[in-house]
Symmetry: C2
Subunit: 191 residues, 2 copies
């Protein structure tokens, strides 16, 4: 290897710092090279280009989000696990707004590796939902519901979609509680 201690991981972490502080749309090869103290073309020794960089950020972000959620659900089950995991999700988005945005590439990108990483989150949720003893189809609906709900809340908050009138954390708890209670009730009905 030559010169500086720059590798794929260093580049990725520098990019994360930029998007979390300056905003996802302000990521550029020029800015990234500058923070690393190298010239722009040198970046091409580590990433294939801008779209490759964005793809790698997506995979990296999804995996870090998944780890955060997994961590938050350790030792908990059922409703408690869901709450802890949902709260961890929202916190992640607040701490890493740019990285979270990176996890949501436009449909036109549609990459195999990104889709695969996303399945990790779905599987995690399915396991946490096992306590509810749902039938397979209902479990899938519930996973989709939970993802929609948590992503929707975090995403709207990120885009400043809520005014300041009322504590947003209370709203989130209210939302999650209402939905999870409904799931629970549906599960009991099926017994």
């Amino acid at each position: 290897m030559a010169r500086k201690g720059i590798d794929r991981q260093t580049v990725l972490e520098a990019a994360v710092k930029i998007i979390d502080t300056e905003g996802f749309e302000n990521l550029s090869m020029a800015a990234l090279a500058k923070t690393l103290g190298i010239k722009t073309p040198s970046l091409y020794n580590h990433v294939k280009g801008m779209s490759d960089l964005r793809k790698q950020l997506a995979v990296y972000g999804i995996n870090r989000l998944k780890e955060t959620m997994a961590e938050a659900s350790i030792g908990l089950s059922g409703k408690n696990a869901i709450f802890s995991l949902g709260t961890a999700y929202v916190s992640f988005v607040r701490e890493h707004p740019g990285l979270y945005e990176a996890t949501l590439p436009s449909a036109s990108v549609l990459d195999e590796e990104i889709l695969h990483a996303g399945e990790g989150i779905v599987n995690l949720l399915l396991r946490v939902l096992q306590d509810f003893h749902l039938e397979h189809e209902d479990a899938i609906h519930a996973v989709r519901g939970l993802r929609s709900l948590v992503h929707g809340f975090a995403s709207l908050e990120l885009k400043n979609g809520f005014n300041m009138e009322l504590d947003v954390d209370v709203s989130f708890k209210h939302l999650l509680e209402t939905y999870v209670n409904g799931i629970e009730r549906g599960s009991k009905k099926n017994k």
Copy 2:
């Protein structure tokens, strides 16, 4: 006026066509000028620049979405109104993926006009929820919940977040039903 029948509205509609077919990230002044049959600098007679164009698309998109929702709730009340309106929302996103993406500018843009347009949707939801006789704070929570849920679902679907295993429309109905039932139950409890 001179030459062609191009005005702000024509430009906006051409831009909508581009983002809905080619994707939001493929909007450029160059592409837009080409579809209008003019040279790039001529666009500056109608919009102030790229970021102004994006801002105008955001406001335009939010207002069209609001009209779609308002239309869908005419003559209905309570749960029926919510269902019709939610379904209309999801359909809108499917028909106008690019325009919908335009309605969600990064937090750093934070424009007064955009925020104001967004309030229109909040007010519409508040009126539709009047049938549930919620207290003011609970009504706000419910509006936030509904927006999170519907936006989250539409947004994940748009980003190909769901696999094909199960009918997504059934999942959406399931989600909305579970949540609205919960709201209704909460409302009755408070009486």
